[in-house]
């Protein structure tokens, strides 16, 4: 019997003003698996993550995260759910007035009554995990793009989340940094069994790391393992996954 999904979207409708993002989106993310959300620019990939995190509310529909419908929770109750989530933002979202060490220590200081030495040990362990050492005293603006992504990933993992949300973790990275972040995500997934939902437009990484792919198309969402989508009967899905040339008027943007 298949395990209950950690995250499930049911008939979600979402619009920003007059611009519809999702008309009737339903999909699920299985526990312990790496799921990659693909789609054209403006297809709502990042919006989907923000919906799951409760940072924006849908116009209609249900979003179940770790057994709770986040669309119905108050901001205070959302805090309870968010303690089970980690989020790696596209640009890191590290607190720019704090050092890397303090950024990582921050969630522990806020939520766990740990002695300073235990916090320092936990921070250094995470920094080691992501291959960042000797950067404790640096401010976020002193880090390169790849280092920022890794520091953001380390912070997202500090509270041992059940579900990790990653928004474009590979964007703006050189091929070596990209593989490093990719390997890191896979290692974290294998070692800690964290459910991962990764928004990306990087097909090669998706094929290498994803257990499941959610492809947001203008009129629907298509789910399945990468191999199945690569060999899909649907020409649009196949073209997207194989990064093939398509007619200039092929609609990749719009509502799912």
């Amino acid at each position: 019997m298949e395990a209950e999904p950690h995250v499930r979207l049911r008939h979600v409708r979402m619009a920003f003003g007059s611009r519809r993002v999702f008309d009737d989106l339903s999909c699920a993310f299985a526990p312990g698996k790496v799921s990659v959300v693909l789609g054209g620019s403006g297809s709502g990939k990042s919006t989907m993550l923000r919906l799951i995190a409760g940072l924006v509310r849908p116009t209609a529909g249900e979003i179940w995260v770790c057994g709770e419908d986040v669309t119905r929770l108050s901001e205070r109750a959302l805090g309870r759910v968010r303690r089970k989530l980690g989020m790696m933002f596209q640009n890191g979202a590290l607190l720019d007035s704090l050092t890397v060490f303090d950024n990582l220590a921050f969630p522990l200081r806020e939520h766990r009554a740990l002695p300073p030495q235990a916090i320092a040990d936990a921070v250094h362990r995470r920094l080691h995990d992501v291959g960042l050492e000797g950067v404790d005293a640096l401010l976020p603006r002193q880090l390169s793009g790849g280092m920022t992504k890794r520091a953001a990933l380390a912070r997202a993992l500090m509270m041992d989340p059940v579900v990790l949300l990653c928004d474009e973790p590979f964007s703006g990275l050189d091929p070596i940094s990209l593989r490093r972040v990719e390997d890191l995500l896979l290692r974290v997934n294998r070692e800690q069994g964290i459910t991962m939902i990764v928004v990306s437009h990087h097909i090669a990484s998706t094929v290498r790391m994803a257990d499941n792919v959610v492809l947001l198309l203008p009129d629907r969402a298509v789910e399945g393992p990468p191999a199945a989508l690569l060999d899909s009967d649907d020409a649009l899905v196949r073209a997207f996954m194989r990064e093939e040339d398509v007619a200039a008027d092929t609609p990749f943007e719009g509502t799912a």
């Binding site: 923000r50 995190a53 940072l55 901001e75 959302l78 805090g79 309870r80 968010r82 303690r83 989530l85 980690g86 989020m87 933002f89 596209q90 640009n91 979202a93 590290l94 607190l95 720019d96 921050f106 969630p107 806020e110 939520h111 997202a156 509270m159």
Partner: protein
């Protein structure tokens, strides 16, 4: 004509909605003040940024305004042979009106705009969303310490402005114009009433601190997550807070005679 009235109506409704949102935001900040944990470190950091870093501009401005008051006051009083009342004129002008109002306007331009820009940048760079994802309320950690610090530093900056203003008036009146030093101080002492003038001045400073603190944090917190949004938040903070200060000043003066 009807279209113009409709536009005016829409503007009024938008303004009322904005005031409603500001009131709700003020309620959230008020609740955050009493919620644990106390953000003492963040509060002290903000007192430094909003208060200590404003000392020079407030001090220099206060001294300059006092000198102008001393000169204008002397030129007027000398016609009536009443130059011995210069201390009273300078003191009452500064304590009842110019001290709290000009300090609030200067603090709006320096500290209020900086607060709005800082919070707006945190919105644009998703730092506030990052806090939410760590189950930390940004109003509690980011907004509340800044708003409370503004309320605390405003009376202190006002006091500094007034003291240096009195000194500026003294410098112009006594050594330059030849007013008797004892008469300057005696007229000041006899004219200024502690309860009506000094406490009233304190009331104005606190009210202006609340206004500037709330408007600056609200504009930053609700800014669009773009560089243009941060710019707009900064500009509207200065405009809205400055106008609010002047309107509030009238009502406090009219209602309490301060």
């Amino acid at each position: 004509m009807i279209a113009a009235i409709a536009r005016l109506g829409a503007l009024v409704i938008a303004g009322l909605e904005d005031m409603g949102r500001l009131a709700l935001f003020a309620g959230r900040v008020g609740v955050a003040v009493v919620m644990p944990p106390p953000r003492v470190r963040a509060f002290l950091d903000e007192v430094y940024k909003l208060g200590v870093l404003s000392l020079v501009i407030i001090g220099v401005s206060g001294f300059a305004v006092g000198m102008v008051l001393g000169l204008q006051g002397y030129n007027t009083l000398v016609r009536f042979g009443a130059t011995n009342s210069l201390g009273a004129v300078v003191g009452l002008s500064l304590i009842r009106e110019l001290g709290p109002v000009l300090t609030a306007l200067l603090a709006t331009g320096r500290a209020g705009s900086a607060t709005a820009a800082e919070i707006g940048t945190m919105v644009a760079t998703e730092q506030l969303d990052g806090l939410r994802m760590m189950a930390v309320d940004p109003v509690h950690l980011v907004v509340m310490p800044r708003a409370v610090a503004m309320v605390v530093v405003m009376p202190l900056l006002t006091a500094l402005f007034i003291v240096l203003g009195l000194a500026g008036g003294w410098v112009v009146g006594v050594p330059l114009m030849g007013v008797d030093a004892g008469a300057y101080m005696a007229s000041l002492e006899s004219a200024v009433d502690f309860r009506d003038d000094v406490l009233g001045c304190g009331l104005k400073a606190v009210v202006f601190g609340v206004l500037v603190g709330l408007i600056a944090t609200f504009r930053g917190y609700t800014s669009e997550p773009t560089s243009a949004g941060v710019s707009t938040a900064t500009t509207t903070t200065v405009v809205v807070a400055s106008v609010s200060i002047l309107i509030c000043d009238y009502f406090i003066t009219a209602l309490w005679g301060v």
